[in-house]
Amino acid sequence: MARIIVVTSGKGGVGKTTTSAAIAMGLAKRGHKTAVIDFDVGLRNLDLILGCERRVVYDFINVINGEATLNQALIRDKNCNLLYILPASQTRDKDALTQEGVGKVLDELTREFQYIVCDSPAGIEKGANLALYFADDAFVVTNPEISSVRDSDRMLGILSSKSRRAERNEEPIKEYLLLTRYDPDRVKLGEMLSLDDVQEILSLQLLGIIPESKSVLSASNAGIPVILDEKSEAGQAYADVVARYLGEERPHRFIDSKQGFLRRLFGGKK
């Protein structure tokens, strides 16, 4: 049975699409057949980050409206043949999404895939609500600043009340925290919330801290998910996230810059 993962945040620009692309690629690289769906109808970005924008023929809305089959719309990733992308429509808006339509598409995908990653749009409107409605797991992407944390908190409230699992009184959606754009130096200067500050408000299971890294932007511009850049800290952090999600124990990294530095100097021997 496939797991449906929603990547959500409430606030925009925190790294939802980057995260969706990275974890979908990570899951596929580890041998799981994975589909990633762009729910940001009208502002499609996922295909850019995954570098497949020039191969988009049909999209999510076409499939919902029955104008194309799922197999026609799914794009196979060129880096990993277990990863498929269902792009959003750029010419429509979120009203084109319907609960029945989304449900039908997800239903069909669950039969073929092991993981389905839903890249939620920002906000708490229709697109975001539909992206989370069918989810089994939620990756809540948060930046270490107060408005992002507040919006994530709001999103958690919606996750626990407006999902299909909540409506059916089933086991609630499993919620995980992903703290992105974390800069330990700025945390130390008090310019950024620390992990503890964030956890005091959200108290979620931490799946990983993604450090602020130049490689994220260059990877996005190149259309290659940052997780494939194994040399970059962000890429390694996302690899850790995927491993932890799949049940592996991995110590958290990138929380403290100095510690990381010392570990790099003296570590490795234990």
Partner: protein
Amino acid sequence: MLNTSSVLEFKSSTFFAPILILFNNDMAAIEETLHAKINLAPEFFRDSPLIIDLRDLNKQNQDLDFTHLTQLLRRVGFFPVGIRGGNDQQNKQARALSIPIDTVREQGAPIIAGNVQKPEMNPQPSSQPVTTVAKPSVNPAPIPPVAVTSTLVTQPIRSGQRIYASSDLIITSQVSAGAEIMAEGNIHVYNTLRGRALAGVHGNTSARIFCFDLQAELISIAGDYKTSEDLNKQTYHGPVQIYLQDHALIIKEIA
């Protein structure tokens, strides 16, 4: 001259009655299911008063002829005594049948507004008849009211969520900034309180707020309130209680 007080008197009392919640407007299916339920406990249901709840049905836009339903219920041995959540047409039919209409909120159950998860509550699942205590007889004796005295919530109250309890409200998780908790009685938060907490919202000036860590945006008892700006002037370490004295909110650490 007749002494009026020796003739009659009005008093208020609370009674228990089962509520029938309908999810489907198929009369045949309703009748069949009712028979099956009654056969499980014929004595329990015989001549029982019944309140009919049509909210779910109307939410799904399933229409139902209330007169037909009433006839059906009487036929199987119920005394319909009230309707709740009916549409205009159904309420009109109820009035014609002299059945009282409950349009106000339900007693005892918390009202949950906004997007809120279902809090864990004391009452039984609503699909079951709520009565186990009273069996109405020809001359029903007044039953002492068994009030629902508290509502328990164990999940965190997130930003944007609202919880209303027509009783005391007990919360074991944190209440986030931007959340709002309201109770007609006392509020207990066995965790950090960051949102807004309003106790005694119906004017109960003896209601109190208790919490482990006071970082609230606003606290209010019976309409008298303090915002976080007033609260920040003093820091509190450890659990506090808040009560009203001469229209002033007193915050006291619980030693």
